[in-house]
Amino acid sequence: MLKNLVLAGAVSLMGSTAFAACSYENETEIKMLSAGFEAWKAVTDAMAECGNLQAELDQEFRTKQPAAFEANPSLYHIGGVSNGTITPLMNAGTIRPLDDLVEKYGQNLKPNQLIRIDGQIMAVAMMVNTQHLMYREDVLSDLGIDVPTTWDEVLAASAKIEEAGVVDHALGATLKSGWNLAQDFNNMYVGFGGDFFNDDNTTAVNGDAGMKALETIKASMEYMDPEVLVSDSTYVQQQFQQGKIAMANLWASRASAMNDEAESQVVGKVKMAAAPTAMDGGVPATTLWWDGIVIAKNISDEEADAAFRLAMEGMDSEMVTANNDAAIWLVEGYAPTDLAAGAIATATANPAPPAYPSTSQMGLLHTVLGNEIPAFLTGERDAAATLTAIEEGYTTAAKEAGVLQ
C-alpha cells in the first residue's frame, strides 16, 4: 500500500515538471487507475510528461475499478485493465468504444494492439504477459540437464537437482492459496487440453484433465519449499534472486527483476524458455494475457478525446525504447532481448496456449478453484472429492449470479 502511495505520489509530482519529451501540452485534467507493476509505471511516467495527469498505480485496482467507473461522472478517465479484469467493465457497460478515437490518434498502433469485442474496439493493448519457464542456466549445465520442455522433464530434472543439493529447492511456484493457486491450476488444466465450461455454462473441470492437473501440481510440490502454499509471484521472484530455487514457471513480467543488480544475486544466470507442455503435442501449460487501457463511458467526449490522446503519448515507441525490458511490449519499436525469449516462444508455440477467458463464469470458477484446491494439496481430501467440491461450489455461485438457472 505504502509503495503504491509513493509511486502515485511520484507520478503526480512528475505532472508539474517540464513537458520536455511530450509533443504537445495536455490541458485537460486526466485521472487514471491501473495496476502497479513496472510496465504501468513506465507508461504513466511517459504520459505525465504532457502534464495534468493524476495516475494511481494500485494493485487493488481490480476491486476499485468497477465501482469507480460506474459513477457519473466517472472517477477516472483511463483504466488500466487486462483480459481478466476488463469483464466487469464490459458487463456493466461503463467503458466506451474507441473506434473513432483510434482513427483520430491511433496512427502508430499496430492492428495487433486493438482489442475488438463484437466488432468494436473496446481497449488498446500495450503488452502481453504469460508464464514461462525460468531456470538457472549454471545449475542445469553443471548437472548436464537439458532445458525441460514438458512437465515430466521438469519433474525429472527437479529430482536430479534435488539430489545434487545445489539449491534449497529445485522448484518454485505461485501456489499461494486463492487467486495465484487457481491460476496455476488453470495453466496446468489447459495444458492437459481441458475446457473450462460446457455449452450450458456448467463447468467441465470435474474430469480427466482436472484430475491430471491436480496430480501434476501435487507431484511438483515434492520439489518445492514446504511452505509453498503462501508463495506468490514476489515470493518466487525473491527465491530466484537469492539463489534458493533453480526453476519456476513464472510470469514474464518478473523476468527483468532477475538481472536487477540491486537485489539479485544471480544476475545473468537465469534464462527463460517456453512454458513446458503438460502432455505430448499439447499447448504450453499456461494462458495468454494482455494489459492495456480502456476509456470511461461516463465522461464528456472532449475529456475522452484528451484522455485517449494522452494514453497514446504514453504508449509510443519513445517510451518503449526507454523501457525496453520492463515488459513484452506490443508497441512499435520493441526489441526483444533474452529476457523475453521464453515468453515469445510460449506465445508463438504451435499449438498456441489459449488466452485467459474474460467471462463472468471464469471469475466465479477462479474463486472456487482458489478456495477448494488447498484442501487437496494439504492432503485433507483426495482429488476426486476436490473436483466434485469445485463443481458444486461453482454451481452454487453460478446460480446466485444468474448464470445458471
Binding site: 463511458k297 488466452a355 463464469q361 484442501a375 446466485e400
Partner: protein, 341 residues
Amino acid sequence: MKFKTFAAFVGPSVFMMFLFIALPLVSVFSQSFQNTYDLREQVEVETCTPGFLTQTCTTELKNVPQLDADGKPIKITEWTGLQSYRNVLQMDKVWAAIGDGRPGDILQIDFWKALRFTLVFTLVTLPLVIGVGLLIALTVNNAMRSLRGPVIFISLLPFIITPVIGSLSIYWLFVGDGILTAMMERWSGQNISMFAQAWTIELLMYFYRVWHVAPFAFVIFYAGLQSVNMDTLESAVIDGANRWERLRHVIIPHLMPLIVFIALIHLMDCYRVFDEIIGFRSQAHVISLQWLTVDLLTPDDAGNRAISRASASAMLTMIGIVVLLVPLLRRTWRDHKGGSH
C-alpha cells in the same frame, strides 16, 4: 436522575447505535434472505486478442448481462428464503458425513472448518489471556516502585501495535527463512517450516493473540488491584493465609467483575478473528468465520460477489457470538440484580 437529563445524555448515543448498528443489521438480515443478480442472455461475441505477432479472433457464446435503456445492467432481486443459509451450512453434506461414519469430512466444508477454528481459537486464548494478564498485573504490583513505570510501558507495547502489523511481524520472524526459524534450524539441525502445516500455524496464532491482548487484561487487572481492601488482606495474613490462598480467596473474588468484563470483550473480539488469517497467509490451512464473510464479499476479476451468502455467514457469526456471550451476560445480570437488593 431526572428522565429528561438521562434522555439528553443517552439520546445521541442511542441514535448513533440505531443508525450505525441496528439499521445495517436489519439490512444484512434481509439481504441474507434475498438474492440479487443481473438478468443475463447468451450472445455470440467475437473477441480479438493479441498474440505476440498476430491477433487471434475467436467467436464464442458469452453469458452477458442485459443492459436497460440507460445502459445499466438490469438487476433482479428474488426472495430465496433460507437458500443462502443452506448454501453456507451445507447440512446435506454434514448429515452424509455423519451417516458415512466419517465426521471428519464435515471439516472440509468451509463454514464448519472456519467455525471449528474460530471456536477453538476463542476458547483456548480466553483463559490464557486472563491468566497471563493477571500474572503480569501481580508481578508489576509487587515490583519495586521505581521499576513499575518502565515495566508497565514495555508490557503495554504489544497492545499498541496495529494487529495486522503485529501478525505480519510474527509471520516474517517464523516464515521459512525468517530470523527465528533460521536460529531454530541452526540450533536443532533440522529444516523447520512453521507455515507448512495447520497445527504450527494455529500455535503461532494462539501465541500471537495472547501476546497481543494480555496487556489489555493486565491494565484492567492492575487498576483493580489498587482497590483491593488492605484490611481484608492483612487479616488474611494474620489468619495465616499464604500467598496462593490470599490470591484465591481475597484478590480473585475482588477482581471477578473485571474478569467477567475481560472475558466478554475477549469473546467478542476473538470470535471475529481476521487479522491473523491475513497476516499469516494461512488460508490454505486455517480460515475463520470473519475471513469467510470477507472472502464471499470480495469481488472476483469478473466483478461477481456472493452478497447473499456473505450476509448469511455474517448473521451466523453474530448468532455464534450471542450464544457464547449468554452465560456471561446472565451472570452479570444476576450479580447486578443481586447487588441492587
